[in-house]
């Protein structure tokens, strides 16, 4: 079924937080660079999908979101704590 808008917004927030925590994603705050931020986020989603052996689409599909909701270690997957 299509994802209802509210749930979709929550999933995007969850994904942003996940990618910031574990894939060194930095969200673009300025609206001018919004499109750049979306490209960056898609690139980080691809990096995460590749790490977990998921289909690399750059899109927040169900499998990718399910993987982001799994209990896990707090260490980043792609770089250490500074």
């Amino acid at each position: 079924f299509p994802v209802v808008p509210e749930e979709e917004r929550e999933d995007v927030q969850l994904a942003k937080k996940y990618l910031e925590s574990f894939y060194d994603f930095k969200e673009e705050k300025s609206s001018l660079l919004k499109s750049k931020g979306l490209d960056q986020m898609a690139a980080k989603i691809r990096e995460m999908q590749s790490f977990f052996g998921l289909e690399v689409t750059g899109q927040l599909n169900r499998k990718t979101l399910d993987m982001m909701k799994q209990p896990r270690c707090g260490i980043p997957d792609v770089r250490s704590y500074s």
Binding site: Q70, P71, R72, C73, G74, I75
Partner: protein
């Protein structure tokens, strides 16, 4: 690994448990963490010693939400724990989210502390995440049966790339004498021991070590103890069990009795009046009663009165008549009074000075029917307990009806 591959530049690493989760018995937390360390020490030269005060290399704590570093925890689920790569101060420390439900079981109602601690301690030793599904260092928690848990190959390759393989290779028949002991000059009549080949420097492919044949004439043992009338012979992770009730020798693994001690022992002895067996590995010892490890263990062997220069012992044997326990280290031995729980004055003494005919180190020791049996390489020496005179010399595996 982490960028620049930080690692501990020493083999003796200390840890301290700063606090405990109310979800589990303190003894179960201690056992889970000791078992997690054992997993890594069994495939590297690293030795882990628990300290109870001051600073340790790896400080372990439970906390929730913001807890003083830049990575706050997030309530139940999500992030379970995190740990820092080797380094000063916070380096090496491991933090567990108290908002999770911690358990020693592998049910789905909580997170198994041993599994999560083993993963986090991998980070404390310098490992990053693995994307090999099923590897211990895979970032996502997966409940597994922990009774006979073995480190997956990917994790062994990773940790051995940082620290190399363990000092002695379990498959070799002789027990490497402790490096800090003076080399023993074996008396002329002793067969010259074939010194084990140099351990390979590149990571050892982790083939599961095979149990030596019962009647292999070169068979040697790491430790031997009695236990409730039976005799247990230890080598690596293997146990030979000789029972007065059955003629056949039973073959087991240590993990089938004490999963937390699966890595093997240097020594063991029974104080039968207390139904208690003490096992020694490197600088620590555990007390067990049957299958149960007593709470508060492991403890440093210095708690028994050994000087800090002693990092491990070779063998131990208890004489229930005199209530004395003899500890053997290199060519010397100590006498411990089980009544006063203290080392006796005037020790250590030379083994050769008191035990006629035992002119070398002792790998393992056993007392039975009024005799001591001292094991050295593939031979054992039967000694009368009272006179301390040598009675006979036999093959180490003469107990196996060969």
């Amino acid at each position: 690994t982490f960028p620049h591959s930080p690692r501990w530049r020493k083999e003796d690493v200390t840890y301290r448990i700063l606090n405990f989760t109310p979800d589990m018995l303190q003894a179960d937390v201690e056992e889970a963490i000791a078992k997690a360390f054992q997993l890594w020490s069994s495939v590297t030269p690293l030795r882990f010693t628990r300290v109870y005060s001051g600073h340790a290399d790896i400080m372990i704590s439970f906390a929730s939400g913001f807890h003083g570093d830049f990575y706050s925890f997030d309530g139940p689920g999500g992030t379970l724990a995190h740990a820092y790569p080797p380094g000063n101060d916070i380096g090496g420390d491991a933090h567990f989210d108290e908002d999770e439900n911690w358990t020693k079981f592998t049910t789905y109602s909580g997170y198994n502390l041993f599994l999560v601690a083993a993963h986090e301690l991998g980070h404390s030793l310098g490992l990053g995440h693995s994307n090999v599904f099923g590897a211990l260092m895979y970032p996502i928690y997966m409940a597994k049966d922990t009774r006979d848990y073995r480190l997956p190959q990917d994790d062994i390759d990773g940790i051995q790339a940082l620290y190399g393989p363990p000092r002695e290779s379990p498959a070799l028949p002789t027990k490497a004498s402790p490096p800090q002991q003076p080399t023993e000059v074996t008396p002329a009549e002793e067969p010259t021991e074939v010194s084990p080949p140099e351990a390979p420097t590149e990571p050892t492919p982790s083939k599961a070590p095979e149990r030596p044949e019962d009647c292999d004439p070169r068979l040697t043992f790491d430790a031997i103890t009695t236990l409730r009338g039976e005799i247990l012979f230890f080598k690596g992770s293997f146990v030979w069990r000789k029972s007065p009730y059955f003629s056949a020798i039973e073959h087991d693994t240590i993990s089938s009795f004490w999963p937390a001690l699966a890595g093997g022992f240097d020594a063991g002895y029974e104080v039968d009046k207390k139904d208690r067996v003490l096992f020694f590995k490197d600088g620590q010892y555990w007390a067990v009663s049957g299958y149960n490890i007593e709470p508060g263990f492991p403890q440093p062997i210095q708690n028994l009165g050994f000087p800090s220069s002693i990092r491990r012992i070779d063998a131990a044997v208890h004489d229930q008549n005199t209530k004395r326990t003899y500890f053997f280290v290199g060519n010397k031995y100590w006498s411990f009074n089980e009544n006063t729980q203290a080392m006796e004055r005037g020790y250590p003494r030379k083994i050769a000075a008191d035990f006629q005919g035992i002119g070398h180190s002792v790998d393992a020791a056993l007392q039975r029917n009024g005799h001591f049996y001292f094991f050295h390489g593939p031979n054992q020496y039967e000694v009368d307990i009272k006179s301390k005179k040598l009675i006979s010399k036999m093959r180490s595996n003469s107990w196996f009806n060969c």
